[in-house]
Symmetry: C2
Subunit: 502 residues, 2 copies
């Protein structure tokens, strides 16, 4: 709004001129492209150090919301920023909300600080060594100008803690802060969404968890600040003692899940792919190294028109590189529930399940009892075998139909797991196939297709991998990406035919 881009928010003709996040390509006032939280203090500390090394002067200002303070990186940044012997101003924009409500002991203390007009003895910023100032009405322009003047050019780190109102100026956003953190198109008078609510996979998932709890499973559902993405508020209402929102603290959620599993509970972690990567070391060191039966449901994965900040095409590479973890990819709702049941029935290993994106698709349950390590052959043909992982099983089936028009009766396989190859099934293909094509909804580098290609590297089977290029796409329409990556039945068929006639 302040940096010359307000039309992008006010004028429908300019809605697509600006991205939803900061972008150095758009404005000289944006230094970084940022979409994950908790980064600003560490980024600003680095910029301040660079200023000092170059012998320059000037104020370096970081903004951080109270909700973002719960992320470990925010704390690491504050702890280090506090030791600078030069200027850094950290504005803590305290609107008493994360994405959902805040969670954590810190927030009770912030309540006390605001209630005491910044004078309470328990002060988390002073307790890290900062100079500290408080502004009771951070929405008051005159007060803020005065506060900025007071901290400008200070020669040491200072926290400027300001109390603000989330949604100020628009009553529906004030009344329903969580829903308005992120919103699809809505009626501006009432705040009601324009589109009708569609059924989601989460309805079925939560119904299954209800049943499991009723049957005595000690299930605990964990998420990190985004219950709305999964309908978890309804679960919380029914099972308050089984519900954990860690706030924006993805590392803690994964490591707490390891502790829960070790002590006999059955943790089910709900997470977005792009945020799960914030807990890579916890997945590695706490969950897979200790080989604990943590169940994870991963959403918003795959090729999408997302901002590059929220691109979620890397989960197959990073999850399938970890030992002991099974990464399943559901292609429809019944298969998803079957996989979830299996994941909760076994206690041998951690299991992640990718919930497909897009509208709910119904289909067969892959197995009544999901059997890991066994590919499901949907259609037995010869010459060409198409392995369609998760959501892209449908694309494999469409491609098989197209190949049929060219007289090729292709085999179609649902591999179900991105992490464990069914070596028997792959070996069996050698007898009467010459080409294997893999389809995955994610980046190819380090992904499922590469695992298959490597396994078959010493065989006569040729392998073609279909998936995303290793690159940060940025609000690119999905259709364009599918075109670029040949992820249509038409283009995949052409590539396969070209390979067969090579």
């Amino acid at each position: 709004m302040l940096t010359g881009r307000k039309e992008g928010f006010l004028d429908p003709d300019h809605y697509f001129d600006v991205t939803g996040y900061t972008s150095p390509d758009e404005s000289e006032h944006d230094f970084f492209t940022v979409g994950h939280t908790s980064t600003s203090v560490a980024l600003a500390t680095g910029m301040a150090r660079a200023r000092d090394v170059k012998g320059e002067k000037g104020n370096i200002v970081a903004f951080i919301g109270d909700g973002s303070l719960s992320g470990g990186l925010a704390f690491e940044g504050l702890n280090n920023a506090a030791t600078l012997n030069s200027n850094i101003i950290i504005v803590v924009n305290d609107n008493q909300m994360s994405i959902a409500e805040n969670h954590g002991g810190l927030y009770r203390v912030l309540d006390e600080l605001r209630a005491s007009n910044g004078t309470s003895a328990n002060n988390p910023f002073k307790a890290m060594g900062f100079d500290y100032r408080y502004v009771a009405d951070g929405n008051n322009l005159a007060d803020m100008i005065a506060a900025f003047k007071a901290v400008k050019d200070l020669n040491h780190p200072v926290v400027l803690h300001i109390n603000t109102l989330k949604g100020k100026g628009y009553q529906p956003a004030i009344d329903n802060k969580m829903a308005f953190h992120w919103h699809a198109p809505f009626d501006i008078e009432t705040g009601e969404p324009k589109a009708k609510r569609q059924p989601t996979y989460w309805d079925a998932v939560l119904a299954e968890l209800d049943q499991q709890i009723a049957a005595g499973q000690p299930i605990v559902a964990l998420n990190s600040a985004i219950p709305g993405a999964f309908g978890l508020k309804a679960f919380q209402a029914k099972h308050p003692d089984r519900y954990v929102d860690t706030g924006i603290a993805e590392q803690d959620a994964i490591t707490e899940a390891a502790g829960l599993a070790k002590n006999g509970a059955r943790p089910v972690v709900f997470q977005n792919s792009t945020f799960l990567q914030r807990a890579y070391d916890q997945l590695a060191h706490d969950v897979t190294l200790n080989d604990l039966p943590v169940v994870m449901l991963i959403t918003s994965s795959g090729i999408s028109a997302a901002s590059k900040t929220h691109l979620a095409i890397f989960d197959i590479p990073y999850l399938t590189s970890l030992p002991n973890l099974e990464y399943l990819q559901a292609s429809n709702q019944e298969e998803l529930i079957s996989m979830l049941q299996w994941a909760l029935r076994q206690t041998d290993h951690p299991v992640a399940i990718r919930v497909p994106s897009g509208p709910v698709v119904h289909g067969f349950a892959a197995h009544d009892t999901y059997a890991p390590l066994q590919y499901n052959t949907i259609q037995k043909g010869s010459k060409v075998a198409l392995l369609g992982l998760g959501k892209f099983l449908a694309l494999a089936e469409e491609t098989a139909a197209k190949l049929g028009e060219h007289g090729i009766e292709a085999t179609v396989i649902n591999p179900m797991s991105a992490s464990t190859l069914d070596i028997k099934a792959l070996d069996a293909l050698k007898a009467d196939h010459s080409l294997v094509a893999t389809f995955e909804d994610g980046s190819l580098a380090g992904g499922f297709g590469e695992h298959v290609a490597a396994y078959l590297g010493d065989s006569n089977l040729k392998v073609l991998n279909f998936g995303a290029k290793k690159a940060y796409s940025d609000n690119t329409p999905v259709a364009d990406l599918y075109q670029e990556f040949h992820l249509t039945a038409e283009l995949a068929t052409q590539d396969i035919l070209a390979q067969l006639t090579k």
Copy 2:
């Protein structure tokens, strides 16, 4: 010591009975295998929640060192633990040391707390909502028993802050705490290491940085609590304003490096492979998404006899799955310095360089000016091409020699980059080769060999990948692992010959 394993530390005949970290396989008192820090509070919080869900009673006790408090996960864990409505006891063992000295504003405040016998107003634990107790002499058994009795069975979260002496009982360890955090065999009388100091790659790296600084490069060296691994204390003495130790805060180091690069400094991050993974999201979102010229020197990577907690075979998979980042693997000192010079000369992309493990090897500089995207053909043959990445270039050369004994003149290639394939060089092999073998010092799943196999999947070239199985080995002798993975010239030659005659 307290759990029946003291002979493993006192009696040479039993030194190898116990691992260096906690292990549930060894003792019922160890719940998790833990080697990375900052995990205990989140693990204990999960265990406490499981206890509560199951309707059980009992005390859940977490231990955490003051050095570990700087890690973001520790803070996330504390912030969530503070909200438990039941028993959890968090013992903060404050010995005023991280691995090196502590860094961060928090530690000045802990100094005040100890100086005031726990009464200082600035209290980071109370500032997160904890009940708090202080023990001035944590090495005094009677005091500790009394303190534990006082907090036992409390119905709410409490921090028991104890002041202890690191190295107590052994004067050399008290006098030189950093050196004795981890130690190779030493003379017990004097504390002097038994082995003579050998030259390391860091001597050459730090000499190069000295030259670059003298020439005006605004270099800043960052590490996270392990300066001793790189000889960085000497650098700090020479360039105190260019030296950053973030404490155990790997996320902050990577994100600060992004800030430094953006503001015109040249950050060089020194990191161990196993700890770099703690900053996966920062590598993705802050460094590679923003495509900033951060330089990283990665050490202690590759197949080793390490504990499974410190296994470092995953960096090729996780770093090569990220866009924009070049991951180079040096095979000798001159090549390493050449790569470092190139990394600092360019400002287009982040560059990570793996410093080989083991004794210093000298050799040619790959290119006077390192040229990315171009493989270096060491020896031109036909039929079989051996791609030896980094340290394993030597193994590729040995294997070529063995193949020579069987009348095969193999091509040997130094690919140098694990992330970018030289497509021209790979395509050129198709003319007169039938087999490509890759050698990499790391886990195969998602690694370099798989990238090569996938690229060549639609060609007539067969591909064999040599590297580590995706599994957590645990203090397994390297020779055994090499044997298992066929990473000897003898076994690789057998596999290659078997493939050629298949």
